[in-house]
Subunit: 350 residues, 2 copies
């Protein structure tokens, strides 16, 4: 390895990493990946730094990168390291922006060591940052909740905000931020336990178990959103998006963050049949990408920290140990096993 | 009849009107209506005026009023006069806003005589208004094109604007207004003849015949919208909306005006599967109702008149004679027989 910093720590000759073996169908299986236990460490080009990953963030959007076709980022190609947000420490550098021992939040992937550059995908962290909280609230997850709700949804005091995957990392923050803004907040979650957590711990006004047998979505929304839905923050798509569109209030807004219900499907996702209600209700449905708000992350994290300090924000982390468990950890977002943020620990913090 | 103006013209003892007999399925048939040839003239309550209809406007939205369920207006009930925009002359009045002989644009319905009030549904017209042009361009149709495109779509010079039902009353104006604003304009229309009219007479840059055999929608959009679609003005829904969403440019806007392809269906319309592209492209899909812009109609009509005077706006009217032909005339919007505005003439202008 050439051009590494003189103060760099001893690096192992090889690393462990996970490559995409084929396009997954539905939930991930071990056969979709190549688990390389003796892969070379990457060579650093000028402008690059080597980070040792500590935590990998499990995000639903990462599942879409494994499918064919370009979304807001190119698809991960067969044979490439699986792309993932991560937090780690710089261990070698040929980039002026980073010094050895710096903590960074980047997009280095399912590997022990990854490359980062001085770009929009990489953020240098304060040395005293609590790393897991950085993943679950003071990072991209918190920014998705903050900008999606406030900038796209624009909730007003007294309005009704509905959020799906309410016990998930993003949805749980969305609802709490909406409460802070004086809204009535109703969630969807996938079990009675999750619903209880969302209402009792996070302070939502109500939470609908969307897996309850014989659930009548329309009736449930009517009961819990008697003034209809002013803002719907959508993480799931499918029948819940459709029902929310049907319950939209006049001038209602639908914030499209993701579509967990569709990401595992091979075919095209079902479109929301009730989209025509956007005409009758003069509604707006709008998508966003958290990275577009890069230049306003400071504002977002300052607000989130202030609310956390005031005891107004709670979050949960679900830690999964070991890089090899990353596929199973990502699956948890789709099977609904998780509550809060799923994080894979690749190495000890120190 | 009580309380009519002393100067009122002689009124016939009965009138001809068309009532809804049952909920239509698909295209309208004679059995869906009761053709009453000896119906009473309505009694005027205080605040009401009686208008003698001259022209009825055929609008796709009127088909939705015949279905069950409330949209932006309540459904027409079985046994009620079919609701329709109309232009006519006041023949009796108990409303201070109108005098006998006034010309008005209202929502009186498929009848020789209808009621209008001093409300948002009724506009008093200049005595020298060309009545048919009022239906085709200087009325609700023009306002739908103007506000939908400019207020919701917000096209910028050099952007690509796509519009469906481009040979229809609204679409043909949308495209011309977009050209006036310096956009590349591409249409969808249902025959080669319509496409030729749209390109050669109206000045669109291209027009795709969506009924062409073996049409590859995706390829056609790629060819004619090489920089993708910044604004899509949707009158049809269905597969064209889906393809347009797939071709959306970054920060693209979809203006939902209507969904001709779905209005005749009994079942729920297909939702646009490509809605997820609103995330990847940071797009916005938004509906509107022309009546909401009521307080800005003067601005709109002044602009449309100025463009017409400058020779920048063209339109076509397709006149259908006789109230009894209203169902067939409305069907033309869905079979694609019309080019431009379909108007039913109920009585001579003078």
């Amino acid at each position: 390895m050439s051009g590494t910093d003189a103060s760099a720590p001893e690096l192992p000759p090889t690393q462990h990493r996970i490559l995409l073996a084929r396009r997954p169908v539905g939930l991930l299986t071990a056969e979709d990946f190549i688990f390389e236990h003796d892969a070379p460490l990457p060579n650093l080009e000028e402008g690059e730094a080597l980070m040792r990953n500590v935590y990998l963030s499990m995000d639903a959007t990462a599942r879409t990168w494994l499918n064919r076709g370009e979304g807001y980022l190119p698809a991960v190609e067969i044979g490439e390291v699986v792309r993932s947000s991560s937090i780690g420490q710089i261990v070698a550098t040929r980039c002026d922006a980073y010094e050895v021992a710096d903590l960074v939040y980047s997009l280095s992937g399912w590997s022990e060591y990854g490359i980062c550059k001085d770009d929009v995908f990489t953020t240098k962290l304060d040395p005293d940052t609590p790393l897991r909280a950085m993943m679950s609230v003071f990072g991209a997850t918190g920014a998705a909740a903050y900008f999606g709700l406030l900038d796209i949804g624009k909730p007003q005091e007294g309005e009704t905000v509905l959020v799906s995957a309410a016990a998930g990392a993003t949805g749980s923050l969305v609802g709490q931020i909406a409460k802070i803004h004086g809204c009535r907040v109703v969630g969807f979650a996938g079990s009675d336990e999750k619903c209880a957590w969302v209402v009792e711990e996070l302070g939502f006004d109500a939470c609908i178990n969307h897996r309850a047998p014989n659930l009548d979505l329309v009736a449930a929304l009517k009961e819990h959103c008697p003034k209809r839905v002013d803002v719907y923050y959508d993480n799931v798509g499918g029948s819940i998006l459709d029902a929310a569109l049907g319950a939209l209030a006049m001038h209602g807004r639908v914030v499209l963050c993701g579509a967990i219900s569709a990401y595992n499907d091979q075919g095209r996702p079902p479109g929301p049949s009730n989209y025509l209600n956007l005409i009758a209700r003069r509604g707006r449905m709008q998508g966003f990408i958290t990275l577009d708000y890069w230049d306003r992350f400071d504002e977002c994290f300052a607000a989130l920290r202030a609310w956390a300090d005031q005891g107004k924000l709670r979050w949960r982390e679900q830690l999964v140990d070991g890089l090899d468990n990353a596929p199973d950890a990502l699956n948890m977002l789709f099977t609904g096993e998780n509550t809060g943020k799923v994080i894979v620990q690749v190495a000890p913090e120190h």
